[in-house]
Structure formats: structure tokens, C-alpha cells
């Protein structure tokens, strides 16, 4: 369960970071992998700071209503951004 939460949280952070790709005019090949690494680092930092993954795990197990809502929101946002990213072949995450 915790592993799932870590993956969901990290995907969410990376998705938000990838918006930089959409905004940035000058895109290079190394930008995406670097953003992924930064996303993982930020995700781990958020876990230490505010237990992001724990909240997601609490949401995934339906332990708490707030955590569940947060997790659904994170999943929905990540899904939308990922879908847009794939559908537009990397041009945009949010419309």
C-alpha cells in the first residue's frame, strides 16, 4: 500500500513539474529526465515534511474522508495531466 502511495505521490509531483515543459520555450532532451529526478526528490522531501505518501496511503485505504478526497483529487489531476500529455504527444499537460 505504501509503495502505491509513493508511486501516486511521485507521479503527481512529476506531473506538476512537467508543466514547466509546457511553459518552457527552450526544451532539450535532458529536461524531462532531470525533471523526473527532481520530482522524485521533491516527493521524498514532501513525505518527510508533511507525510504526503502517508496521506495518500490513508486515502487509498479509505481510512479518512479527507485523505480519500485528497487521493481522488491527486489521482484525477495526475490522470488528466498524463492523458493530455500522451494525447498531445508531449505538447501540453493542462489546457
Amino acid at each position: 500500500m505504501m509503495l502505491t502511495a509513493v508511486i501516486v505521490g511521485t507521479m503527481f509531483v512529476i506531473s506538476i513539474l512537467f508543466i514547466i515543459l509546457q511553459i518552457a520555450r527552450d526544451r532539450r532532451a535532458w529536461t524531462a529526465p532531470v525533471l523526473v529526478i527532481i520530482g522524485i526528490a521533491i516527493s521524498l522531501f514532501l513525505e518527510n515534511l508533511m507525510s504526503l505518501h502517508t496521506w495518500i496511503a490513508l486515502g487509498l485505504t479509505f481510512t479518512d474522508l479527507g485523505a480519500t478526497t485528497l487521493t481522488i483529487g491527486i489521482l484525477a489531476s495526475t490522470a488528466v495531466m498524463t492523458w493530455n500529455f500522451i494525447a498531445t504527444r508531449g505538447r501540453e499537460l493542462v489546457r
Partner: protein, 223 residues
Amino acid sequence: MKPERSKGAGLSILAILMTIGFTAAISMVDSAPKEITELRELPDGLFAYAIVHHGPHISVISDFPVDSAGVLIVDLSHISGTISQVLFMLAPSDRPLFAGASTVMISTPFNTFPTYVATPNDGIHAVMIHADMVTWDTMEFRISQIDQLLLLNLDIGEEFLILFCNPFAFGDVLEISMTIYDSTSYPIGSVIAFIVGSVLIISAALATDLIDIDRRRKRRRSL
């Protein structure tokens, strides 16, 4: 497909602001007071206190009135160890069972298996296992390793924590079950999470045009 920059920028800013706000808010929640959820008298005059709290370990340990006779404190960290830790205190009422044992803390950064095994002194062994990471076979294996067993089953919402502990004075197997719903222990964080989650859901719905505000406005104007 032409991107609609206004919506995109809105969602981006919203997501970033939500993340920053959530971080700040939850970090403040860590200082919220703990609460004693359940107190149950056990056989042999042993008392078990289950305390659900959130915040740094050190604040709880320093605040809690430690019995002069000596106590065994086992800190069961729920899931990752920061939010909703569960602290068990086993304090003998009539004899200094754990004299000199002072404080034993077991905490876990992640729910790996086995999470932690502590042998502080005098043959006290404690193993903490998250049940979702373990099968009955491994449980039986663990039980077979311990001749004198105190088995605590602790339900926290959907999570099932088990503590194997063998204080040397317990001849018989003692089984205690407690159910603690810890969602009430972090109401502020829960409310914040609910608000942030709701905003994210609405943002995602807006991004997929499930909620089309412009169309509704146009319809109103046309009417």
C-alpha cells in the same frame, strides 16, 4: 488541438499553490495535541494505554508521565511514522516488572517487514509487523520463535498492526484486541486534505471539460 492557455495556467497555478498550502498546513498540524484513545485493564494488573497522536516522538515521550516502576513504551508508527503514530505503554501496576528497562522505543520509517526488532534488555523482545506485509505463515514462524508471548492486535481503520512482545514475566499467552479509529486524531489535517482534494477534483473536471462554465454562461446569455 489548440491549447487554451487560460485554463492551463489556472490549473497549473492552482496545483502549485495547493501543494505549497498543503505542505504548510500539514506541517503545522504536527504540533496538534495527542489524545488517549483507549485505556484497558489487562490481566495480571497490567494496563495498556493506546495513544493516538501525531507529531514528533520526543514530545510525547517527554510529556507522558512515565511510571517510576519502569515502563515499556512501544511506539507503533502507523504506515510511515509521522502521522498517527500509535504508542503503547505497558505498565505493571503492582510490581516493578520493567525496573531499569526505562523506555523502549520502536519506530519505523516505512512499513517494511520486519519493521524493527528490539532487544533492549532482560530478554524483552518486541517485533512490530504491519499485517498487510505479512502472511500467516510468517506469523506462525514468528510466533514459534517466541516462547512467552504477549500478542497485541491493533486495528487502525483498515490497517492492522500486530505487536509481538514477550516480556519475560508473562507465562501465558495473552491476547488483546483493540480497535482504534484514528481519523479523529488529526481533524485539521483531514479538513485541509478534504479541501485540497475537492479543489483538485474540480480542477481536473474543469480540465476535462466535464464542467464547462463558458457553455453555461453562453446558455444563460442566450436565454
